[in-house]
Amino acid sequence: MIKSNFAEKYRPSLLQEIVGQEQAIQDAQKFIKEFPKKKGLILHGQSGTGKTTLVHAISKELNLDIFELNSSDLRNRLKLEEILKPASEQHSLFKSGKILLMDEVDGVTGTDIGGVPELIRILEKTAHPIIMTGNDIWDSKFSELRPKCKLVEMKPLSVDNIVKVLQSILKKENINENIHYLKQIAIKSQGDLRAAVNDLQTYVLSDQTNVNFLEERSKQDTIFNILKKLFQERSDHLNLFDTTKMSLDEILLWIEENIPREYKGKALAKAYLALAKADIFRGRIYRQQFWRFLVYQNIFQSAGISYAKDKPKATFTKYERPQRILKIWLNNRITAKKKTISQKYARYVHCSTSRAMQDFQIIKKIIASKPEIANNLNLSDEEMDFIRK
């Protein structure tokens, strides 16, 4: 087997296999049908929502050829003229028609001189629908392109939808895995299905004895190795996090989770002191959008944690994945009723939902005391059951 990347292996090839993008599919089909009312379609949305997949599935469904340019081609004017333009004027040899796919248009950068204006010129002349995909279509360099195209957004996938896909993959692979764990992967992916599928392959399946996963396994080792070096060696470690693709914020969660498993007493306090400092700078980065502060976050998070202890250590510690985000999410599910009741109450009495949730114990008693109140608030039967509990 040459390649068994799950994201590729299980990439949907038919429209009906695509999960959670009903609206986008409908809009894109309509665009092809109505062509040349609008000549270009921009599918936009964050990574892993299925933009490229959708284009390929549509071409299959409608029996159209795809002529594809992706971000590895330099999209300057000459190149575009050379390739895209003749393609837009030729008729497809065997199939009924053709789609021109320009993947990842936001990759058209300053070095692709004249790329966007040329694209617009070709749009005006093309005999075939042109579909473009991109993450951030609101960038000013696309301001002239946008009005000439139909815009269709691909929304981030819901946690439930992602879990559904992960489950169906595991079923096909004949593997059982705890649903909570799948949820954790789904939440972490933030709506990016490809990332979730990759994580599934990396984390869940790395326990399987299969040589094809060796590469992925080494990726998984990285964070554990990083933690081991950080907690056990005593060194600056300023470049320690360069070896992982994880963001500093994500690493912070891993450190937060595992400090008490490794350090005790004085070292524990010092390590958290450093982590708290890293967190202060993280907050400032977000509030002021001042990315230079990343340097400080990095130093407190690496050297700060490493030097919290007086001397190196060499014990075996079993590190855990960050639990906090999962717990918050699970809790939100459990307290969903509490939230909807609080929302209704808050609207009614002109206060905020968070205030209402804080005083929920008192409010619950008040609501339960008179049936008229439930009427005032328009509470559902399920919500009343929750109140009576």
Binding site: L252, E256, P260, R261, K264, G265, K266, L268, A269, A271, Y272, L273, L275, A276, D279, I280, R282, G283, R284, Y286, R287, Q288, Q289, R324, K327, I328, N331, T335, K338, Q343, Y345, A346, Y348, V349, H350, C351, S352, T353, S354, R355, M357, Q358, D359, F360, Q361, I362, I363, K365, I366, A368, S369, K370, E372, I373, N375, N376
Partner: protein, 322 residues
């Protein structure tokens, strides 16, 4: 119209004269309404001191029976993202006001929940629609509102209600609801409310749902059963050196009872003085607590900061230097 059975609504003052406390502010607000012209206004002060109430009175007096058409209430902490706020504001402000007053009013509650960037955007919106739309904003801390917005508003600072004010409100409601309440119970209600009138009324109603004859014991019983923030067990674990359990318990309390980081901090700060540790250690822990609160208010992650604070308690428990 069916009358509300929630007392905070049922007994919410509907005219200026009924407002309790904040006399200076009420007088000035009344004068503005009489002139049929209000500037952008900001109400700053703690919860339950009458900010929303006064905003509602202003629009009712201003627009009379047309107030519902000319008034939009938004809660910044509920409405996700500035885009939603902007869109709603735009849609609302685009059409002309109905009646004699040439503008509409938007009440933006908990404006301090907006991020800096959102506030910057809001400032533009305020400017663009100032002819057709006036803002009344409320916030707990005016320090969290950016200067350009503050400078566009007349700022009124609400104070916590005084004991006599809260007691007056409670007495008034008790009479109407035919509740017998002892002097001592009134005092207790005031203490539990900490100057927050909404909480005082809610507590009264919750208590009255059990007994119409109210004494201090019943009030205390209700208040303690509803007081969610019990951090003692968290601190006990930490002092015993069991950080993992302390952390788990902390997260559990925060999630189960929807308690925010600053409320946890307040509870910890009070609890410190009941702990069995050296007095000078208490002072040091208080310093750490204050620092953590400052950082959270300033925008750091509350759970990370609280863990750092718990680590200090672990040190205190093992009699190490903090």
């Amino acid at each position: 119209m069916s009358q509300s059975e929630i007392w905070t609504e049922k007994y919410r003052p509907s005219v200026f004269d009924m407002m309790v406390g904040q006399q200076e502010i009420v007088k000035r607000a009344n004068a503005l309404v009489q002139a049929m012209n209000i500037p952008h206004i900001m109400f700053a002060g703690p919860s339950g001191t009458g900010k929303s109430t006064l905003a509602l009175i202003i629009v009712k007096e201003l627009f009379k029976d047309k107030w519902k058409e000319n008034y939009l209430e938004l809660n910044a902490s509920d409405e996700r993202g500035i885009d939603v706020v902007r869109q709603k504001v735009k849609d609302f402000a685009r059409t002309k006001s109905i009646g004699v007053v040439p503008f509409k009013v938007i009440f933006l509650d908990e404006a301090d929940a907006l991020t800096q960037e959102a506030q910057q955007a809001l400032r533009r919106t305020m400017e663009n629609y100032t002819n057709t739309c006036r803002f009344i904003m409320s916030c707990n801390y005016s320090s969290k509102i950016i200067d350009p917005i503050q400078s566009r508003c007349v700022v009124f600072r609400f104070k916590l209600l005084e004991k006599k004010d809260i007691i007056e409100v409670i007495k008034r409601i008790s009479e109407k609801e035919k509740i017998k309440i002892t002097e001592e119970a009134l005092e207790t209600l005031y203490e539990m409310s900490e100057g927050d009138c909404r909480r005082a009324i809610n507590l009264l109603q919750a208590t009255a749902s059990i007994a119409l004859d109210i004494n201090a014991e019943i009030v205390k019983m209700i208040a303690s059963s509803t007081k969610p923030t019990n951090v003692k067990i968290v601190l006990d674990y930490a002092l015993a050196g069991d950080f993992l359990n302390a952390r788990e318990k902390l997260l559990e309390i925060m999630l189960k009872d929807s308690v925010g980081g600053t409320d946890i901090i307040k509870a910890i700060q009070k609890e410190i003085w009941t702990l069995q540790i050296e007095p000078q250690t208490k002072v040091k822990l208080t310093e750490k607590t204050g620092e953590a609160e400052f950082r959270i208010v300033e925008g750091s992650d509350e759970f990370v900061q609280l863990q750092a604070l718990l680590a200090s308690f672990v040190l205190a428990g093992s009699k190490e230097e903090i």
